[in-house]
Assembly symmetry: C2
Homo-oligomer: 458 residues x 2
């Protein structure tokens, strides 16, 4: 029999990895909850009618589809089958797919539960998603998204709080060198207006989104092929090349955007977000008004965000923005405005590994291993174990009769920081050798003192 393997693009998370991942998840969850977001979980499977057509044609191709149960070929049209047309046969043999993101399932949930939900509704959702993408470094077929969205309000407080939450999460997990890029769909439209490219926004957005990857000359080349004049390109880069503080950029654009309502609206929104941050008692440290940021164009209608961890190979680890049409795709007439963002935990994890940021004690393991020499000391150890656990201290006893070396090796391998070796002296006196496996220091203490010692170090 061949050794079993994992499907490509998927991963197991063993104890050491899990500890680090849970450290990230726990901090994200705590921050989401501190800001009044409430948890939602949706099923891994959705009807294909829910998923299809929401992610563009490419996205539809990347959906994992689930084969119908039972005799799935029974009712398939003969012609389609004989033509061996996989695309045409798919809808006949598959009704369900795995979720591709958390936004569409959230929209479906909102539409289905509209009358029970209190608006504005702040929900967070931390679950895996699946994409039949070609696996490569940093790109997996199963990965977690951590989304927070608010629907049912236009308040720019939500945008400000997204920035606050990103800052707080990164502060908690120890990432200090990062940039929260912010822009506004209105600003992008405004640029198109003032450079004379109204109606020709899409190629402009697509090109400038690549600016930091391909550089100014390549962007210009691309736009020349899309009928942009030299004059419009000069105007465009006069704007994109503005340097200075966020305030400076806003002032410069206000002077440029006098004739464009859409542009003005974008600038006013951004200005208010910066002012709100001040009212919260924080500043725009880490926040960069990036005029060339143009992510997710088909989707967003207001502020857009992207977070980059600096000096790592991975780059963008979080993004989001405001959308006005969350529930429209499900035929909802009272369309709900919303704003949300998503932490890419797998990328944050990779970046933290690269930067060596994980706390050493991230391992989830027992604090104490009890070791023993024979049946009697093992039995005695069980009463000690019960006391440790009753005190809330994760602990275990080596379950088999084995040489002491083997038991201590086990503690080291499992990164258990303390051991207590029980022999006949210890059973008589109740004074136990409490050893710190890291330093090698050992003290003889009664169990109550050991519990105090561990608690004081927690």
């Amino acid at each position: 029999m061949e050794k079993p393997t994992l499907p490509k693009g998927t991963r197991d998370f063993g104890p050491a990895t899990m500890a680090k991942r849970q450290f990230i998840f726990d901090n994200i969850r705590k921050v989401f909850q501190a800001y009044g977001f409430q948890p939602l979980e949706t099923p891994a499977m959705e009807n294909l009618s829910t998923l299809t057509g929401k992610y563009g044609e490419e996205g539809d191709q990347l959906l994992f589809k689930i084969l119908n149960s039972g005799d799935f070929l029974k009712d398939v049209d003969n012609q389609k089958l004989e033509a061996r047309n996989s695309k045409l046969v798919t809808p006949a043999i598959s009704e369900k797919g795995l979720r591709y993101d958390l936004t569409v399932p959230f929209a479906r949930y909102v539409v289905m539960n509209r009358h029970e939900i209190g608006f504005p509704f702040k929900r967070y959702q931390i679950q895996p998603v699946w994409r039949a993408d070609r696996p490569q470094k940093g790109r997996y077929r199963e990965f977690y998204q951590c989304d927070a969205d608010v629907v049912g309000t236009n308040s720019l407080l939500c945008e400000a709080e997204i920035i606050l939450m990103i800052k707080e999460v990164f502060g908690r997990i120890g990432i200090n060198d990062y940039t929260i890029k912010i822009n506004h769909r209105g600003v992008l439209n405004g640029i198109a207006d003032v450079i004379g490219a109204t109606g020709n926004e899409t190629p402009m957005f697509v090109a400038i989104d690549k600016l930091d990857k391909i550089g100014e000359e390549k962007v210009k080349e691309e736009l020349r092929t899309k009928d942009f004049t030299e004059k419009s390109l000069t105007s465009l880069f006069e704007i994109l090349n503005v340097k200075g503080s966020n305030r400076n950029k806003l002032a410069f654009l206000f002077s440029k955007f006098e004739g464009t309502r859409s542009g003005q609206k974008g600038l006013h929104d951004l200005e208010e977000v910066f002012e709100l941050l001040e009212s919260y008692g924080t500043d725009d440290n880490h926040v960069e008004f990036d005029i060339a940021l143009a992510r997710g164009l088909s989707y967003y209608t207001g502020c857009i965000f992207e977070v980059k961890i600096n000096n790592v190979s991975i780059g963008s680890v979080s993004g989001g923005g405001r959308y006005d049409n969350l529930t429209q795709a499900f035929g909802d007439k009272e369309n709900l405005s919303g704003v949300g963002f998503s932490f890419g935990v797998d990328r944050i994890y990779d970046a933290m590994e690269e930067l060596g940021l994980f706390p050493k004690d991230a391992q989830i393991s027992s604090k104490v291993l009890l070791c023993h020499f024979d049946e009697a000391s093992l039995r005695y150890g069980l009463s000690v174990l019960s006391k440790l656990r009753a005190a809330g201290i994760a602990s275990e006893i080596y379950p088999d009769q084995a040489k002491l070396k083997k038991q201590l090796d086990f503690a080291n391998k499992k990164m258990i920081p303390y051991t207590i070796v029980i022999g006949s002296d210890e059973m008589n006196s109740g004074v136990l050798p409490f050893k710190n496996m890291g330093t090698g220091e050992q003290e003889k203490l009664e169990i109550e003192k050991i519990i105090e010692r561990i608690r004081s170090q927690a």
Copy 2:
């Protein structure tokens, strides 16, 4: 456009449900960790070669299979396709499936990571599984399992700790009326030996497993059709009908089992488990040696467990046992013995709802809602909000300009226990009206005092 729906047998978990579910998950996780179990997560998708043949033919039918990406029909054998034989076509168009339980992925993980793992390996795993079962009350197509297994030791300490963990989890979540049934595969074999049914165990196990559902007469009827003599049936029920304490039952069976090694081994194991519980300083309260318990026969080789919550419609919520062949199915030669069990959280949830056991404050929500009358009081509120959050108190501000009634209704709907309404007096004095939404009581306090008040009540 039609209203979207959920695939049958699947569920959304909104905020109120999530809070209760997380209460159960958190307590199970804490207990697993307190006993030295370490977390593992495996992918939702496994190769069908990993899953198939592990759950019997019925299980294979219940696997959700994932359609291969791209032009999946391209290489399918013409004859199979023309014959419209779904069973034969499946392997050609589907290579992956959704995991059916957590045990087979765990075994696969152990085989693949054998040389990195320190044994005995104690792992817990809390993830959803999927079964294409016919949905009905209490049976879902996506549900969570919470498994804890130890592999690489024969020590009966593991069995004793399973009982301790079940007791501790139920104690923490408030379930007091429950029974942990324990039996041993050797005892069942011993019974077959002494009633003269050696070699005819399987029909006996199948029949007596149904004893509490169909009663003694029906079990006898069934066994008569399987060639059991009246004499053997009389002997069987003489044993099954033994009443009294666990010790009494053990003593009675010891006297019966003199001639059966397998039976003696089973009794000795059970006796040791009871003795170990005493050494831990606990007793066999809630633990019932149930001679007729026969679950999971193809699988278990030692002790077996099943947990029933009493006086609810659902019944069995947890089960497990010892197995000697975890990794054999993957061609592993050094076969690893293990013992494990699984909490069925969906059933525990349903039982707790039925018994009204969830704490009222299980809702995950903000502790405080800040309300305001105008732009100025909203802005002032943001600085108050920052202080509350810095103190670790989950809180939020109503994001829009709205009538006070609407803001307070929002707090009630979201079950936010406290509100602070900010007007111009409050902005001048810094003394804020801190209102308990449950009791209606209101005190005028400075923010520092409010923080103290909330902390003292947490």
